[in-house]
Amino acid sequence: MIEVLRRKPQGRTFDSFPVEVFRAVVARYPVGELVAVHTVVVEGDRVVLLGEKSETSRKFVLETTTGRYFLKEVPWYCDDAESIAFSAELANRLADAGLPFPSVLPADDGRAWVDVAGSSFTVSSYRPGGLYDGSEVHRRAVGDCLGRMHTAMRDLPVRPPRHESIRAVVAQHRELVAQVRPDQAGPGTGLAALVDDLVAELPDDPGAQPIHGDFIPWNLAHATDGGIRAVYDLDNACGGNPLRDLGKAVATYHLLPYAGTTTVLRRLSDVAPPVSCGAGPLVEAYQRRRPLTAAEAAVLPAYVVAGFAGSALLSVVRGEQAGVADGDFRRWLDAVRVVAEHVTA
């Protein structure tokens, strides 16, 4: 059954918070006194403004008398108690298992978050790192980390609040884009028909273990030696098939045409589709940690296509694909289907 889509709260602005909000949050954690709130930070070899383009959650680095911590506003679409508790427990258990997840600090009431001024916040350890640079070292590190994560997650005593099949996820994206961009993707449009056909061919396996849900380049930070320093953002963590994370990783790391190092997708009409996948090092590194069964290897291409389609549909929602014709979407989808068949090559 397709989960009812949550609607973005009205009236939510994305200005920064007054200092009283930061002080109120800090007061709930054993982190000393607030010294400063940073939005200008170093990430690897870049200086960035945290959350500059975020439309879902505001992020800050808190400097206190005991150190630096990462403050994150929980996105509106996963700010129910069960989801926050699950994400935090997952992060902390993975951190305990030696994986590079910043640990989520408990608040004074023992919960993994605090509610202040109408928002929910988590505070975690601060682990900055650099962005993915496209090198083979980085690709292998990504695959290795993902494989380790899935192996560890399989055995964790945590209970996801929901399980989602890849078919359900892409179907949700289809519903969302039809609501937000009815002219381009509403019922009766060519794009809607294209996605309907895609959804029908996707596996409907809800999966049996926790997965990350959004394993993309911007949710990982690399150390100077190329290894993974931190994995962020378990907001989309749920029960599912690990191939969903792997498919999305292949799509976002290798197939989707992003504009530079941003999360903005270039218009699919302006860029030629890929003719090869190039995900060999990533998938190989993954399989060293978590070998794929023959059945998984056979169905992985579908997850890669789904990873591509999901991100492309969200790009339509954000208005980045204005004017792109149905034929361009079809051209890309067909090309991704072909190259995905060789994802394990």
Binding site: S16, V19, V37, V40, V42, D45, R46, V47, L49, E63
Partner: protein, 233 residues
């Protein structure tokens, strides 16, 4: 920051040319042989990234360091971090954080002089900078308009309340100069800026023409001379 000489360029009213005068002053000081840095403290409307040709700020050993412009001036600006069309919203809390990051001692250790482009109005960034640089010398930029002069007086009160030294006033866009006959036409009439400077007990350091390459340092030699008497090295 021990030997760093800090000059803050303020003015109160937006649009009087603080940023342009800041850039020009930096270049004029650099022309005297000083190693000069420019700190763009106008976080919501950073302009120094447009006035200097330089790449992005890069971290060194995990610390943010200013970018080096084509004319060898070090520039620290949020404009060198974000895209051109990005609208920036700052609370007092995040303003303080950004100012602390941009004024890390290591960022300016190669400079003799740091010229700071203050934001308009009386805001948290200026207060934070005053606490970081209590020995700074301040120059106020104004035009001859009544509104700008009123804000100039208010800015002077604010700076003095923070116990910062006020060196003088610069009147920007004071007149237009004819390119052929060298005649000048006052834009706002009268000598409001001179009167205001007198009321503040400081000299009028310069009257700059409209649109005449102020950002290159032209016309700012008098300001440089007044400042150099007060600069330690």
């Amino acid at each position: 920051m021990g030997d760093l000489n800090v000059i803050m360029v303020g003015g109160g009213k937006g649009g009087v040319g603080k940023s342009t005068v800041t850039a020009g002053l930096a270049r004029a000081l650099a022309a005297t042989g000083a190693q000069v840095g420019v700190l763009d403290a106008d976080l919501s409307g950073p302009s120094q990234s447009a006035l200097f040709a330089c790449g992005p700020m890069r971290p060194v050993d995990g610390r943010i360091v200013p970018a080096l412009s084509a004319d060898s001036i070090r520039v620290g600006s949020i404009g060198l971090v974000v895209g051109q069309d990005t609208a920036l919203v700052w609370s007092d809390a995040t303003t303080v954080g950004a100012v602390r990051v941009l004024t890390e001692p290591a960022a300016w250790e190669e400079c003799d002089v740091l010229v700071v482009d203050l934001p308009p109005g009386q805001v948290a960034a200026t207060a934070e900078l005053a606490s970081r640089f209590p020995d700074a010398e301040c120059v106020l930029v104004t035009t001859g308009s009544a509104l700008a002069l009123e804000e100039c007086r208010r800015a002077a009160t604010f700076l003095r309340r923070m116990e910062l030294a006020l060196v003088g006033v610069v009147e920007n866009m004071a007149f237009t100069a004819c390119a052929t006959c060298e005649s000048a036409q006052d834009l706002f009439g009268g000598d409001g800026a001179a009167i205001t400077a007198g009321e503040l007990g400081v000299p009028l350091l310069a009257r700059l023409p409209f649109g005449a390459g102020v950002e290159t340092g032209r016309g700012l030699q008098g300001v440089v001379a007044a400042l150099r008497e007060r600069i330690r090295r």
